[in-house]
């Protein structure tokens, strides 16, 4: 005996979309309000070895260590840039308070952009109360240059700090 199943017309099921739309709007509002527009950040790597390197016969192919002295004014702005000063603070090549580009040109002429640049080492000796942005400016101008096309030419990669100077010193 064949069983006949009647195919009845299915009633249209209306789905209530209101709760879903509510949730979607809430999520959307959350993401819009928590959105934080930030600029890209990058790092400058510095290595501060625990022990001082042993003094030995300097490699003739290596650029001698470069020291940059950054002086501060009383308000913390840059009061002078001196390249390779003597131990007593005298001598060296002085640049103006905003002579970062001259510093870059001078460093580039000393180390070039080849393998010598990779082995070159710069020590930054800054006054205690110097605004930190000046140190970043110094590192930027020493570590390379970006041309108009956005291409970066690397210079000095080994950067370190001299021991901190006393406050007000």
């Amino acid at each position: 005996m064949a069983l006949k199943i009647k195919k009845g017309a299915e009633p249209a099921v209306a789905i209530d979309m209101t709760p879903m739309i509510d949730i979607v709007f809430q999520l959307l509002s959350f993401f819009i309000f928590t959105l934080k527009i930030t600029t890209q950040e990058g790092d400058f790597n510095i290595t501060m070895p625990l022990a001082a390197p042993r003094a030995g016969t300097p490699d003739p192919n290596q650029v001698p260590p470069i020291k940059i002295r950054l002086k501060a004014t009383t308000d913390g702005s840059c009061g002078g840039i001196i390249l390779n000063p003597n131990d007593d603070g005298t001598g060296g090549t002085a640049f103006g308070t905003n002579g970062w580009k001259q510093l870059r040109t001078h460093i580039a002429s000393m180390v070039g952009t080849g393998s010598q640049a990779a082995s070159a080492e710069v020590t930054i000796d800054a006054d205690y109360n110097l605004d930190y942005e000046n140190v970043i400016k110094c590192i930027t101008h020493v570590s390379g240059e970006k041309d108009a096309a956005g291409h970066i030419t690397k210079m000095v990669e080994k950067i370190k700090f001299a021991p901190p100077r006393p406050p007000g010193g």
Partner: protein, 145 residues
């Protein structure tokens, strides 16, 4: 005068395009959501640099230390009044690294200092970290563009 109230016809608005747009916006915001800035503090205004480019691959063991304009150190949800006082936290980080079988030489200390912070405070912080045997440091700056 009598005004007849006529029965307005029931207008059904098609919600489909609006829901589509909402989902697209939602998807966009979910994808751009980033938790990288979770350790950033509004008090820190980074110095700008044209050469500051984000690292190609994320650091395995980064330790972020922030230096405010007045020389306070912010790290691990705590605030330290001087760079030297952050030594306890750095010692704790060292212990955690050693428990994970890593050395302090593998760790990278990321310093996010305010642009007007004193350089001496940043140097003191580096010196404090050196005393706990950390040797790798990164000075963070924001992209100038």
């Amino acid at each position: 005068m009598k005004i007849k109230q006529c029965q307005g016809a029931k207008i059904e608005i098609d919600m489909t395009p609006m829901i589509d747009i909402c989902f697209q916006l939602l998807t966009f915001f979910v994808f751009i959501l980033s938790f990288e800035g979770a350790d950033q503090d509004a008090r820190i205004m980074l110095p700008a640099s044209e050469l500051a480019k984000p690292p190609e691959k994320p650091e395995e063991t980064p330790i972020t230390l922030q230096v405010t304009k007045d020389g306070h150190i912010l790290a691990g949800g705590q605030e330290f009044p001087t760079p030297e006082s952050a030594k306890s936290l750095l010692n704790a980080e060292k212990t955690v690294l050693e428990q994970r079988g890593k050395s302090v030489a593998d760790a990278n200390i990321i310093i996010r200092a305010h642009k007007d912070a004193k350089t001496g405070d940043v140097q003191k912080l580096i010196k404090t970290a050196q005393e706990v045997q950390f040797v790798r440091f990164s000075l963070r700056a924001k992209d100038k563009e």
